[in-house]
């Protein structure tokens, strides 16, 4: 067996969770909420393409943007690679492990055999850190699981080359370098302010109709039409319940990332000695609580097939109310970082 001494951490969201763990390993102590906040990841995007019957949404920026923004703002270089051949991908990974370099790989979560089967779904944008080998298994640090776990070589190969949306294509990355002497406090403070400014700007100032609070309202206003376009009640229920899944089940840390953002603002308040960020933390925590209530509401009505026109209007109003709250919140936040 060979295992890199790696401090495993559980996390709310795979990309921010593994980045936090990976950076800690490389001497940059950054909590998961700080990774989320500094990378400007809090977001909203309304997504509708011609092949979709129902639109969907996401509450964070694109997969990969957290790593890029953290790298840019803190002077950390990540080495990234993609492979078309599983054998070359495996050889590259094992060469890095032999050098003692913990390496993050993108995987289909379904093949993570250490996670209870009822919790596993096909999802191609999951990230884990490979930290060693034992016989025919890899040792992996998955922030969705309490401890370092074994994953068979066969399962990891399948997970790294699963097909469909967001196909991993053998993607892997590791920390290539960090600033000499570590990340200085003034750099960190500046990065926090940049992250807040980016998030607040995206949510309320970006002139794109499907992003930020505009995107929330667009998504909300789309919902009353769903009963007409659903082929049957089951399809409608599935679409409505996917709102709950996106808000609470897809590794958001609860409340569509808003709880984690509240933690970030608390840390920012201490670092920058700005009590106003602490007040804002409480506000976004309360907004997160209301997203969670909305999530439970849609889950209940979806599960019970209670999906008449009045329910669709209720859901629309609830999402619009969140949009109004977030507009006020992020406008205020933007004034604090000008």
């Amino acid at each position: 067996m060979s295992q890199i001494q790696f401090q495993h951490k559980m996390g709310a969201h795979c990309e921010s969770g593994i980045l936090s763990a990976l950076l800690s390993h490389n001497g940059v102590a950054l909590s998961e909420p700080m990774v989320l906040g500094i990378s400007g990841a809090i977001f909203f995007v309304f997504i509708k393409t011609p092949h979709m019957v129902f639109p969907v949404f996401d509450m964070r920026n694109r997969p990969g943007d957290m790593r890029k923004n953290i790298g840019k703002r803190l002077g950390i270089k990540f080495a990234t690679q993609k492979f078309s051949d599983p054998d070359r991908a495996r050889a590259s990974l094992e060469a890095l492990l032999d050098k003692g370099i913990p390496t993050t790989v993108q995987v289909d979560m379904f093949y993570m055999e250490y996670i209870p089967s009822y919790m596993r779904v096909h999802f191609n944008a999951h990230f884990i850190v490979v930290v060693g080998r034992e016989g025919g298994n890899y040792l992996v640090s998955d922030c969705y699981y309490p401890s370092i776990s074994k994953l068979s070589r066969d399962s990891l190969d399948k997970a790294r080359f699963a097909k469909s949306d967001f196909a991993p294509k053998g993607f892997q990355f590791y920390v290539a370098s960090t600033p000499a002497g570590g990340v200085k406090e003034d750099v960190l403070k500046k990065a926090v302010m940049q992250g807040i400014k980016q998030s607040a700007f995206n949510m309320v100032k970006l002139p794109v109709p499907f992003i930020g609070v505009k995107g929330m309202r667009r998504f909300a206003d789309n919902i009353p039409a769903w009963p007409k376009i659903a082929r049957n009640m089951d399809a409608l229920s599935h679409a409505i319940m996917s709102i709950h899944i996106t808000l609470e089940e897809r590794g958001t840390g609860g409340g569509g990332f808003r709880f984690m953002y509240a933690s970030f603002l608390q840390e920012a308040a201490k670092l920058l000695d700005k009590t106003e960020f602490s007040d804002m933390s409480k506000k976004i925590m309360a907004i997160g609580d209301r997203w969670r209530e909305l999530s439970l509401f849609v889950a209940r009505v979806g599960k019970n097939r209670d999906l008449g026109d009045n329910r669709m209007q209720e859901i629309r109003q609830m999402i619009r109310a969140r949009a109004d709250e977030e507009e006020a919140f992020f406008k205020t936040l933007l004034t604090m970082v000008k």
């Binding site: 559980m10 996390g11 709310a12 209870p116 089967s117 009822y118 919790m119 922030c143 969705y144 309490p146 319940m241 709950h244 899944i245 609470e248 089940e249 590794g251 958001t252 840390g253 609860g254 409340g255 709880f259 984690m260 933690s263 997160g288 969670r292 209530e293 999530s295 439970l296 889950a299 209940r300 599960k303």
Partner: protein
């Protein structure tokens, strides 16, 4: 419900939690004593047959009743895995709040 005074992981706390789960999920054909303390609430439990929506209902009921905040559903899943794990979490949070 008398929850304020129970801080240790006691049989009383576990019974209280079982009643809270059954009440919250409106399960009338299962008695608290039918739920084993260490049994998984979500996996291989034909008596309860809970799903992820029930998980969120339980999380919110725990938050309301015990004034705890479970932000993270990933960690939340392990907290609400069984009555034992829920009771440990509640007792720990209460002890923390007392300090």
């Amino acid at each position: 419900m008398e929850n304020q005074t129970i801080t240790a992981v006691s049989p009383e706390l576990k019974l209280e939690i079982k009643k809270l789960i059954l009440e919250t999920l409106k399960i009338s054909d299962v008695k608290p004593e039918d739920i084993a303390d260490s049994a998984s609430l979500f996996e291989n439990n034909p008596a309860l047959q809970l799903d992820s929506v029930d998980a969120l209902e339980i999380v919110m009921a725990l938050q309301r009743t015990y004034h705890v905040h479970i932000d993270d559903q990933n960690i939340g899943r392990f907290i609400i895995k069984s009555v034992d794990t829920i009771a440990e979490f509640v007792a720990k949070e209460r002890a923390k709040n007392k300090e």
